[in-house]
Subunit: 106 residues, 2 copies
């Protein structure tokens, strides 16, 4: 997992509604066809700092399978952050693409 992308991925996952930590990791795995594996040692610290920064809010709840879970939801600041991170990613990926294509041409 490239450093700096975990938060983008979490924000993106929460776009579709509240989810708990494990659920976020599983959704990412499935959606990316097992390409993106979010380790717990990255996931939980990331959730905590994002909540500290006001991008997320959490609340204890019960999951479908009757487990105690901590549900995370995007705040408005989180939604704004999602947008800027998405744009940042697009710009960065485009820049890398430019460089890779330029080097191919050589």
């Amino acid at each position: 997992m490239l450093r700096g992308t975990v938060e983008l991925l979490i924000l993106t996952t929460l776009r579709g509604g509240p989810r708990h930590g494990f659920g976020i990791a599983r959704w990412l795995e499935q959606t990316s066809d097992d390409e993106l594996q979010l380790e717990e040692g990255s996931l939980y610290p990331a959730l905590h700092r994002m909540e500290r920064r006001g991008w997320l809010e959490s609340e204890w709840g019960i999951s479908d399978n009757n487990r105690k879970v901590k549900l995370y939801r995007l705040t408005s600041r989180g939604r704004a952050r999602l947008q800027s991170e998405t744009e940042g990613w697009a710009a960065f990926a485009a820049a890398i693409g430019k460089v890779l294509r330029a080097a191919e041409a050589v």
Copy 2:
């Protein structure tokens, strides 16, 4: 600059032939339309560890404008590494793309 991409960018830059540190940074800036700025505090340590790992070889020389420069060149291991990093990047960017599109659909 996303962590983990500096080495890919350096390897890519050197694909077109030997270059010195400053030259690498300038080529990246120009080619990416100033989107990718490689700071000196990242550049030189990266060059050193890549040489230590056998991906690069260096040699002192004189530049066009008559400056003493350290020219870096890809080794065969470096070329192999460039290929695997390029593939890794493509796979990763594709995975992120999948996730972003999936979340948009929600």
